[in-house]
């Protein structure tokens, strides 16, 4: 086998702090993401799994360059996002896009959806003005909506349809990398399946690299090649979907899997009920951040931050 093709996107030790260092406030800075290493190949789908406050949305926005990392670098196709010139950055914007969770706040209520889908091609001058309308109608068709929908306003659509519109807007610039931030969690289950199928179809048709952010392991299982499990801003476990979700090694992944309710009685394993809530990201525990809720924690867990070895960050493993 020849050398693997260079990945499209590489994150090297990215960390993000939200400092509350205002003129009159001196709150403790919140460390939302700590030292994450990640790479994403062309056409690959990686699932980013974690509970609220795990930093998964922050990480997604750093990978898109919408939020600068406090430490570490993000490379997109060999360009360091932080050091890109304004012209480079503009060009990169076209190549990476985002789909949001909330279908109600992600569309501008005051503009027709056709105008919103046309924004990307207009900003990047991708199509001449005369062909814009045709481009919008083509995109609407690709996400399963009618061309005549272009003249309507967002409130005239259901949640699932809005999510399709959000996807059409993201695809309008022909991106190579798409971050989908919980794109189906706000949708009904019958519609959720439609949107997942659409994403899977578009991904293979356009060769998209997809970062799929979700808290729902079952959804990740059906769509992703690899999965990264975050807890309090740190990677707990990562690896191929089949390996991580079928034979989880990190106690957090195990607890997460066992906590998910299941339709099939046979899959309801003995539940590992985690005690308490995740700690606040402004005061994370010393050592392993999961140790305060970990059923198998030992004294050493408070001492050292476990390194990610072979896809697992746990002193108990290996």
């Amino acid at each position: 086998m020849t050398a693997a093709p260079s990945p499209l996107l590489v994150a090297e030790g990215v960390t993000r702090r939200f400092g509350a260092r205002g003129l009159f406030t001196r709150a403790r800075p919140v460390q939302a993401v700590t030292d994450v290493w990640l790479s994403l190949g062309r056409g690959e789908t990686v699932g980013l799994v974690g509970e609220s406050g795990s930093g998964k949305s922050t990480l997604g926005r750093m990978l898109l360059g919408l939020l600068p990392p406090s430490e570490g670098q993000v490379w997109f196709d060999g360009v360091d996002l932080a050091r890109a010139t304004p012209a480079e950055r503009r060009a990169l914007r076209r190549r990476m896009q985002i789909v949001f969770q909330d279908p109600h706040s992600s569309l501008d209520p005051r503009r027709t959806i056709g105008a919103q889908i046309a924004d990307g091609p207009t900003i990047h001058a991708l199509v001449p003005p005369a062909e814009r309308r045709a481009r919008v109608e083509g995109l609407l068709g690709q996400v399963g909506l009618a061309p005549s929908h272009a003249d309507r306003y967002p409130h005239e659509f259901s949640g699932g349809q809005r999510q399709r519109i959000g996807i059409a807007r993201a695809l309008a610039t022909n991106p190579e990398f798409l971050v989908a931030d919980e794109p189906v969690s706000a949708l009904d289950v019958s519609v959720q399946a439609q949107v997942l199928a659409l994403l899977a179809d578009l991904r293979s048709r356009f060769g998209l690299a997809l970062l799929f952010i979700s808290h729902d392991l079952a959804v990740v299982r059906s769509l992703c090649d690899r999965v990264v499990v975050l807890y309090l801003g740190r990677v707990m476990e990562s690896g191929p979907v089949a390996q991580v979700l079928e034979a989880p090694r990190h106690p957090y992944t195990q607890a997460l899997l066992s906590a998910a309710p299941s339709l099939e009685a046979s899959r309801r394993r003995t539940r590992i009920l985690l005690q308490g809530d995740p700690p606040s990201p402004s005061a994370p525990p010393s050592g392993c951040v999961f140790r305060t809720r970990c059923p198998v924690a030992m004294p050493a867990c408070a001492e050292t931050v476990p390194a990610l070895v072979d896809g697992v960050a746990c002193l108990r493993v290996g």
Binding site: Q97, S105, H155, D188, H215, A218, P261, L263
Partner: protein, 606 residues
């Protein structure tokens, strides 16, 4: 964009009059006829003549020209500058914000009338001085309104989306943010313009505005006040003109605000309708904790009456969990709210009955119902942050719930609060009782909500999506807690959810709702193993598969309540549709022991 015509016509008429004054066949507004001072209205002088014998109508129209141009110019200047400063300050933040928004706060420190007096005294009176003075006075208002709007809008996902598309700041501010704050800015404009008309009149009245003998409404009011006893009508005309103009301007701005909002205006509610009395002899069947029979809820909309809940019958026994499962718009939440008598004001129960431990509740007068709520029947909601009162400590809120149903308060109730918090698994309960809702995590808030709900030992607990907003590890904790409480207290639980896996985990029986109707009801195990309605099977197939294959969605969308198909509501999306399905609405038929289905072809699935 549809604009209501009446306010537009009114303001247009006033503006046209003011503009056309010089070409109208009118007198010179300053020509005096001392001989005819205080003359009553006549054919030549429709509104009479003033203290110098000048024609009142002429002066009124010329005065409108002055008053309106001062008002429009000053409000317009303030509006444009305010939008610029507020947008830039709110969007760019940092030092720009200090320069634009904070500097405006300084202007707010001066009493407006004093500032106006000061400037006019320094620069001399006249319309030319008034415009910049009034503009400066109204500027901070506009900056504030725009700034607050920008702060709200800029955090919306759609702003992030255009940023991700590569839009620059000017495009984001102009194309995306500005249209979304247009409503409040227009309202502010109407307030400022109306207030400028009044302030101009006031300053002219004081002799600091328009200089006599030029006509102005303020001067006219001032002059008429002096001669009020001789000719009260002279006071009426300018005051009426002032009032009508301001009303018209406000109406126009409201119309504009509605017109730029693509959502349209919400409907208003009509009078309450009484539920017909229960037929004699109608009693619950088995004496369950809660029984609902033939419940129908109606909502009046501009498009006519819709029935988001139709003919719903269900029962839950003591210690039993019934799950109502359905997608958004299925009517599952309204069913729960109707039983508690907590329907939103636009909705009402038009048919059916509900018994809690044998007592009919839908026909109870409100005071008796209030006793019931939080007593025999309690409810928990999806979002505990919005259903707990943010300004009271959670211990006090639970205490309140206890007090509403106890004879007297005292130390024993306080102890019960702590005992309840302990029971729902809140660590350090005595200290947490003193916490405010925002100081607790989502899971802890939901536990506090549950503590409040079970405070008076309810017989029935209605839980509306109680774990939907929670993380999966916290959801597991709350589901376990609810299961334990149900067992140890023998409560009947109605669990409203959209999540089939959650139903499979906790429910004894399940009722599947679609477009306002129950389409299938039965023991959870049977329904999940062998669904007898195509919607239930389709719903099960659209849950993510455990084997990793992509789930099947259901094509199409739920029909809107006012566009229901004539036959089976699910027929347009159903794979098993036959012509009979569209002919008539299928009835709910008993298919087995405690199992019902609303499908004509259920036998083929059995």
């Amino acid at each position: 964009m549809r604009l209501r015509p009446a306010p537009v016509a009114a303001v247009a008429a006033i503006a046209v009059l003011a503009v056309a004054v010089p070409i109208l066949p009118l007198d010179n507004p300053t020509r005096m006829e001392i001989a005819h001072r205080f003359a009553a209205p006549s054919a030549a002088h429709w509104l009479g003549q003033d203290e110098y014998g000048r024609d009142v109508l002429t002066r009124l129209l010329w005065g409108a020209r002055v008053s309106l141009s001062v008002a429009a110019a000053s409000a317009g200047i303030a509006c444009v500058l305010g939008i610029l400063l507020g947008l830039v300050g709110g969007f760019l933040r940092g030092i720009v914000e200090v320069l634009t928004v904070r500097s405006m706060d300084v202007v707010l420190c001066f009493p407006p009338l004093l500032l106006a007096l000061l400037v006019v005294t320094l620069l001399g009176p006249g319309a030319g001085t008034l415009i910049p003075v009034l503009a400066v006075l109204y500027l901070p208002g506009f900056v504030r309104v725009v700034y607050a709007g920008v702060l709200t809008v800029r955090s919306q996902d759609y702003v992030e989306a255009v940023r991700a598309l590569g839009a620059g700041p000017v495009r984001i501010m102009g194309r995306t943010i500005l249209p979304n704050i247009a409503g409040p800015v227009l309202v502010q404009f109407s307030l400022a313009a109306a207030s400028a008309v009044v302030l101009e009149s006031g300053l002219s009245f004081l002799g600091l505005g328009v200089v006599p003998p030029a006509p102005s409404w303020g001067l006219m009011i001032g002059a008429a006040r002096a001669t009020m006893t001789q000719s009260p009508l002279l006071l009426l005309w300018p005051c009426a003109a002032l009032t009508l103009t301001i009303l018209a301007m406000n109406a126009l701005c409201d119309a504009l605000r509605d017109a730029v909002d693509p959502h349209g205006v919400p409907a208003r509610r009509r009078g309450a309708v009484r539920l017909p009395a229960l037929l004699p002899g109608l009693v619950p069947t088995r004496g369950p904790a809660l029984e609902v029979r033939n419940l129908t809820v109606a909502i009046d909309t501009p498009a006519g009456v819709i029935h988001p809940v139709r003919d719903v019958s269900l029962a839950v026994g003591a210690g039993e969990t019934l799950a109502i499962v359905g997608e958004s718009g299925s009517g599952k939440s309204l069913t729960g709210l109707a039983v508690l008598g907590l329907l939103p004001p636009i909705a009402r129960v038009v048919q059916g009955a509900a018994w809690v431990e044998g007592q009919e509740v839908l026909r109870l007068p409100e005071p008796a119902r209030r006793k019931l709520r939080g007593g025999a029947i309690a409810m928990i909601f999806q979002d505990p942050l919005s259903s707990l009162n943010p300004v009271h400590r959670i211990g006090d809120q639970i205490h309140e719930a206890l007090l509403a149903h106890a004879r007297r308060g005292g130390e024993r109730l306080r102890q019960r609060v702590v005992a309840l918090l302990t029971r729902v698994g809140i660590p350090d309960p005595a200290a947490r009782a003193r916490a405010y809702p925002h100081e607790l995590s989502g899971g802890m808030r939901q536990r506090a909500m549950i503590a409040m709900a079970i405070a008076n030992d309810p017989r029935v607990l209605i839980a509306d999506e109680p774990t939907t907003a929670l993380d999966v590890t916290i959801q597991a904790q709350v589901l376990t807690l609810l299961g334990d409480l149900r067992r140890e207290r023998g409560m009947g639980v109605v669990f409203i959810t959209h999540s089939l896996p959650v139903v499979a985990e906790i429910a004894d029986r399940v009722a599947v709702m679609y477009a306002g109707e129950i389409v299938e009801q039965g023991p959870a195990a049977t329904v999940f193993a062998k669904p007898l309605h195509p919607y239930t099977s389709a719903l099960l197939a659209s849950a993510p598969h455990e084997d990793g294959s992509l789930p099947d969605g259901i094509p199409g969308i739920v029909p809107l309540p006012h566009e229901l198909p004539p036959g089976c509501a699910f027929a347009p999306r159903c794979r098993h549709r036959i012509p009979d399905c569209d002919a008539q609405r299928p009835a709910l038929v008993e298919t087995g022991e405690g199992h019902t289905s609303r499908c004509l072809r259920w036998r083929e699935f059995a």
